[in-house]
Subunit: 435 residues, 2 copies
């Protein structure tokens, strides 16, 4: 890469336009600090006739992103198209031509990361994607560089701003899930299809990218446990509050003995945990390193300018870093790990059993748990009456294999005095101890 | 720097020994990821005869750090001696010889930073000091690289772990300042001379280094407002809790119109602010960037291994980054700013006036505030009786110049019905709005 690299910017939506503004605004700083001047060689858009903002004037526009990615006039390819087909073709073509690539496309990397990172390593060029996880939060660079002294054993993140906003409103305003979702919608925090967010699919994509960085660039194979926030109720928050807990949609990666736990689900988080204070649409990631201990990065997980900030930093990194060794984004010595089966993952659990108020039922439930080797940490003896005239019995159980719990719950839910299905939520342990 | 640089490690205390362990533990990773192998050319210690841990065997030991820093066999100098005299001589000699330097010495950079960074820029070599601020938190690298797209307008940090531990115990256990200090001492969190911590001197040193990074490497000139935590009482926490606030020792930097506000003092922090959740001995820094918005980095602010983690990352950065342009730690285009006089700084304030319970006193106090152009945001009408049989009147005032407030307080404290001195605490605004 020369000191005057020509960028091919694929996509001039809000992030692309923000990037152009940053490139112009920071030009004097970049020249003074690094002797680098970024040239905008061209931008690819879907429709050439559309009027552009005045500050985008002077940029050569094309409607053929693949040609721009392949052009000998393009030194660095910045993929901001999103989606799969065209984006994949362009990134692949750029890497094949030995060009560094910067992308913000989490879905692309979640689905085609293994192929694309392998190609980047083979050609010895960087594939950087800071903006694909946590928006403006420099998490991938921290894993790659700042924490280079550390073996990272676990990572717990709030990776989706929409769902965190919904859960924060449920907690702080006491509103229902649907009311909170409507509030998120009013603020423009929801997508046309909200299922990507609320079902945890977006968080899962980001977790896959993070996991690849934890495994030196290898994408772990297997099924990722994924549960959205659709089942979280005001009553869950009522009980959580009584115990000094809150509820967050967490993405969790934890290495253990040649396997990696990967899961996305709502979890109870102690109020004293740093993730408990991550409110509204903010994102945060807590890492555990063997030298640094616990560390957290927090910031805007989405938005045009935070995302453009990360894209810009990736471009500057490409211009200033030696391509010694590989230099591909996610390391050069992939250690493939298998994803631990969900039934083998261990956690503490909170259970809420709805019963008719009969004294023997606690003993029956405890007997079934015991028969499955599950040890009870606490039982709330009083039955908290609920709206239907029944009572809720709360049970916290010690660290247990999820498979054993699910099997016990099947038996419990078959008891004649149990009404409905037992609600269970996983507990995030204290810092350092992931559920 | 070659791909097999020889390190001269000055100081083999807990951080130096931790660094040696990391270098050995991470050798395969560094070779695979970057093709770099770090050689330990030698280590300088105070007393050569002392027995060393078995894992430090094989390292050439000298008692002459200056000779090691100057030696043609040393490619990178790692200064872990601390203090001024020898450390300063060694860092200066290394930079003069054109060698990259990594240091963890905050006092050295706070006092001699202007000279040393200028020398580094002149010789075109990096002077990296990630470990000097926030221990294992990669804050300087974030300012230098990850946030390169941003003009950083403000920074608010909890930069001293000892005082944060003391304040956390006061808040959560309801103990007195002295009891909390004793608890910190028991845990080994206090220095032989605790005044560096509790008077805010250590936090001020770190703030000076951060400010230099905000100003492109220039050390702002002028007086830094500094208040320790010695005056914070259990009664302050009692009142804070009633208002949904906590109390933290904050280090604040904020740019405004050719000046920079720099100050270290205890402040009231809303429970909803991300810094409110930073407990015990942890550190955190909240930054406001014009593109990225609000971002926070959180982690262990001290300790041998977190500190060694940052030193190691600095060394790897030196080995893998192009020295294009300057490459000196704190940028290459210093923008010198004057420190705004403390009396010109504006903030919201919380006042607690101790009065004998007489109705006219509220009017007298409000009249004096009004005469100084200070507008009252809220007055707690009820007088909260205190131990001495007097009452405490609480007043929150809108954004005010500190000079105006101090002048008003001088008049208020002269009123006959006011007992003792008025307690005042600055309030940290909501995210984005520094006090």
């Amino acid at each position: 890469v020369t000191s005057n690299p020509r960028l091919g910017i694929l996509g001039l939506g809000t992030v692309g336009s923000g990037l152009v503004r940053l490139i112009r605004r920071r030009e004097p700083h970049l020249r003074a600090a690094h002797g680098v001047t970024l040239q905008i060689g061209g931008a690819a858009v879907r429709s050439g006739g559309k009027p552009r903002a005045p500050d985008l004037a002077g940029i050569p526009i094309t409607t053929d992103p693949l040609a721009l990615a392949r052009s000998p006039e393009t030194d660095i390819v910045v993929e901001l198209i999103g989606g799969f087909d065209t984006a994949l073709d362009c990134v692949r073509a750029a890497l094949e031509a030995g060009k560094p690539v910067v992308t913000a496309n989490k879905a692309l990397l979640a689905h085609h990361g293994p192929e694309l990172y392998a190609l980047a390593r083979e050609r010895g060029v960087p594939l950087f994607a800071e903006a694909s996880v946590g928006g403006g939060i420099p998490i991938l660079k921290a894993l790659r560089e700042s924490l280079v002294a550390n073996e990272i054993s676990s990572l717990v993140g709030i990776l989706n701003g929409t769902t965190n906003y919904v859960l924060t409103r449920m907690e702080e305003d006491g509103v229902s899930y649907f009311e909170a979702l409507r509030m998120a919608d009013e603020r423009g925090y929801t997508e046309a299809d909200p299922s990507l967010d609320i079902e945890g699919i977006d968080a899962k994509h980001k977790l896959q990218i993070l996991a690849a960085h934890l495994c030196g660039g290898a994408y772990p194979e297997g099924e990722i446990l994924r549960e959205g926030i659709g089942d979280v109720t005001a009553r869950d928050f009522f009980f959580a509050r009584r115990r000094g807990l809150t509820i967050k949609l967490l993405a969790i990666a934890r290495k253990s003995a040649g396997e990696i736990e990967l899961r996305v689900h709502p979890a109870l988080v102690p109020r004293t945990h740093p993730l408990a204070g991550v409110r509204d649409q903010f994102n945060a990631i807590v890492l555990e390193g063997d030298a640094v201990g616990e560390i957290m990065l927090y910031g805007a997980g989405a938005g045009a300018m935070p995302t453009a900030s990360s894209v810009y930093a990736d471009i500057v990194d490409i211009c200033t870093r030696v391509a010694r060794g590989g230099g591909a984004g996610a390391g050069t010595e992939p250690t493939p790990l298998r994803i631990k089966p969900a039934s083998d993952v261990e956690s503490e659990y909170y259970l809420r059993v709805t019963v008719s108020d009969e004294p023997g039922v606690i003993g029956e439930v405890a007997t079934i748990l015991g028969a499955h080797g599950i040890s009870v940490s606490s039982v709330a003896g009083e039955l908290i009456p609920n709206a239907a005239g029944l009572g809720d019995l709360e049970i916290v159980i010690h660290r247990t294999r999820e498979g054993a719990l699910l099997s016990a719950l099947a038996s419990i839910d078959g008891l004649p005095r149990i009404r409905g299905r037992t609600r269970f939520l996983r507990l995030l342990g204290s810092p350092g101890g992931v559920p």
